[in-house]
């Protein structure tokens, strides 16, 4: 019995860390711009593809080195893409009604999905993800742990630590938190808001890109629409944790991963998906600000 629980715990941590890494991107952008960045889920997908192409084109040998190269490549690729998206699609709408920006975000999201489907080198078909980490299974006290899952868990912890450090200790992080608190006042203090927004997008997207590679390592089938479900669940995680709060997003991700793994044992997958959204409904009814969120008073 203990081993079953331990095994499920590993699964929950792995799933939760993917959701947490994704949720951070949603929550940071929402904090600064009050925008639900739907394209984030597709940046996650692009990240997985960047890892795929790096591994295949350079013919890397499976192993931790290859994994690090792929993850770094995916992070850089995703960050560049997100910065371009922000510059081209979101910046012209900075002063427009918030709804316009959100619709644009949906447009960008679909553009990336259908676009990747249309370009010949990605295409509509499912692709088998290469074994960047070779298949080996360790057994620790009756719990089976594949090498891929181990590496994913360690990398997630490292990435989350780096992220927490950036957000809470560096000047960029401080400026990010300041601009999510009050955009105008931050600009009056001499902070370049555009640059902070660019950093926010880049950091969030880098986490998503890494999450994409790691997701594909554990669930090794990728297609242009792979980001949709994890993306929307990560958004639910961000809402559960309180949108706008980075620690909230991390914890929300693990909560969602835990609940999903706990129910996966008993329910077929379609109910598992529905469950994530019942959590959203429950949170919206009883605590719309989430666990760590701060209520925003609407001015008349």
């Amino acid at each position: 019995m203990e081993t079953v629980i331990g095994q499920q715990l590993v699964n929950a941590l792995q799933l939760g860390s993917a959701y947490a890494l994704l949720a951070v991107g949603y929550t940071m952008v929402y904090g600064v711009l009050r925008l639900i960045n739907f394209a984030h889920a597709d940046i996650f997908m692009i990240g997985a593809y960047v890892g795929f192409f790096i591994f295949n084109t350079f013919g890397l040998a499976s192993g931790v080195t290859a994994f690090i190269i792929c993850v770094l490549g995916a992070m850089i690729g995703a960050a560049i893409l997100a910065v371009v998206i922000e510059r081209v699609a979101y910046r012209p709408l900075r002063t427009a009604p918030r709804l316009s920006a959100m619709i644009t975000a949906i447009g960008v999201s679909l553009f990336l999905e259908h676009g990747s489907r249309a370009v010949p080198f990605i295409g509509p078909s499912f692709r088998r993800y290469p074994d960047i980490i070779a298949h080996t299974t360790y057994e620790i006290g009756g719990i089976y742990l594949t090498a891929a899952v181990t590496v994913v868990l360690i990398t997630s912890v490292i990435l989350m630590a780096i992220l927490s450090y950036i957000v809470s200790r560096t000047m960029v992080g401080k400026a990010m938190r300041a601009s999510s608190y009050d955009k105008e006042a931050t600009q009056l203090m001499g902070i370049n808001l555009n640059r902070i927004i660019t950093y926010t997008f880049a950091i969030g997207a880098a986490e998503a890109g890494a999450a994409g590679v790691m997701w594909a390592l554990v669930y090794p089938m990728i297609d242009p629409y792979m980001g949709m479900m994890p993306g929307i669940k990560a958004f639910v995680a961000a809402v559960v944790g309180g949108i706008g709060s980075v620690p909230g997003a991390l914890i929300g991700g693990f909560i969602l991963g835990g609940v999903e793994t706990a129910t996966a044992a008993f329910l077929p997958s379609m109910y598992r998906d529905a469950l994530a959204f019942s959590i959203l409904a429950i949170v919206l009814i009883f605590k719309p600000t989430g666990l760590f969120g701060v209520g925003v008073l609407e001015k008349v």
Binding site: P97, V108, L110, F111, M228, I232, P288
Partner: protein, 353 residues
């Protein structure tokens, strides 16, 4: 969103429904296209391809005008409109052809509840009592679902409705995909061709009349007030949650009708006909035509359906065009077709009021 709280009395497609000609214009609006297309098609002057395009345009108008009630008049942001359409299609479909309670592949159909009701044939068009009942039940199911979903989403700030409806749409598709009773990924097949131009046009007329009368009534003023400023509306004694739910349910009701119409037109339904990409299509239509305007959203639906037919040779790139167009509209052309000051658009006459 414009700033004028006062509902403007304006017509549809240039016809103003005012003064002594009020009833005449409405009657003409309902009867002329209804009879024109019905007679021409029955005579064989419209070939089946154009008839199909006309049907699709009509259903798209139903969908976009009903989505406009939620997104344009109520000012909320629902993006899972095809989900409600799917509910309408599947509920009405099961009520007519029944479902398969056995495993997939084993044909063991339970006949639908309304399968044995009389069907009249007038001038080559089927008038099925069962279809009318089934479509209404399907639409009511969609409206009820909207009501249930609306309660938690409307309690929170506006952004959440869009995520909830997006998620709802994906879940609905997912559930249909996994439900053997309605055929799983193969979908429901063998639907009789009960849907025809007469029903489609009557629904188009109904959604336009309901949506227009809704915004000019006192309830509609309340709905518009909610759009302009929720807090002020609440202070003004309007039950904001109630009006949001009413408008949301009405929008979903017509989406359900649209689903029944498309299902019995193409004679089969499968889950992917109602996926999130379909919803985005309806969103493109209303923003292309001009959000908040009934004329605009109807025109947007016509234009976008037509464009998709014309651009069929583009293949997969046609899919990319929609989102790209949406981005361009949002950045450069927020007001859409009917509300922008373009030289080739007839200026609306409502200003004189």
């Amino acid at each position: 969103m414009s700033t004028n709280v006062k509902p403007k009395r304006r017509g549809f497609l240039g016809i103003t429904f005012e003064g002594p000609s009020f009833w005449i214009s409405w009657a003409l609006f309902i009867l002329v296209p209804l009879l024109l297309v019905a007679v021409l098609y029955a005579r064989g002057d419209i070939n089946s391809y154009y008839y199909d395009v006309l049907m699709r345009i009509g259903i798209a108008v139903v969908m976009s005008v009903s989505l406009n009630i939620i997104n344009g008049h109520l000012g909320q942001f629902s993006i899972g409109h095809a989900g409600f359409m799917g509910i309408g299609a599947y509920v009405s479909g099961v009520l007519i052809v029944g479902g398969n309670p056995g495993r997939a592949g084993v044909s063991l159909r339970i006949p639908g509840l309304f399968s044995n009701l009389p069907v009249f044939n007038i001038g080559g068009y089927d008038f099925s009592v069962g279809f009318i009942l089934a479509a209404l039940v399907g639409a009511l199911a969609a409206a009820m679902l909207a009501f249930i979903i609306g309660i938690p989403s409307f309690r929170a700030r506006g952004d959440y409705l869009c995520v909830v409806t997006l998620a709802l749409n994906m879940i609905i598709v997912n559930i249909f995909l996994n439900m053997d009773y309605v055929g799983g990924a193969r979908g429901l097949t063998g639907l009789p061709s009960f849907s025809n131009w007469i029903w489609v046009w009557l629904t188009v007329a109904a959604v336009i009349i309901v949506s227009r009368n809704l915004i000019t009534s006192s309830h509609g003023r309340a709905i518009l007030a909610v759009r302009e400023n929720e807090v002020a509306a609440e202070i003004g004694g309007i039950n904001v949650l109630r009006y949001k739910l009413i408008a949301f349910a009405i929008g979903a009701f017509f989406a359900g009708l649209g689903g029944a119409l498309i299902g019995f037109h193409v004679q089969f339904i499968n889950p992917n006909m109602f996926n999130i990409f379909k919803s985005i299509d309806y969103m493109i239509m209303i923003y292309l035509g001009g959000i908040g305007s009934i004329t605009g959203t109807a025109l947007g639906a016509i234009l976008w359906t037509f464009l998709q037919e014309v651009l069929r040779p583009l293949g997969v790139w046609r899919l990319v065009m929609g989102p790209a167009l949406l981005i361009v509209i949002m950045i450069f052309w927020t007001k859409g077709l009917t509300q922008s000051e373009l030289p080739f658009i007839i200026k609306k006459k409502a200003k004189k009021e």
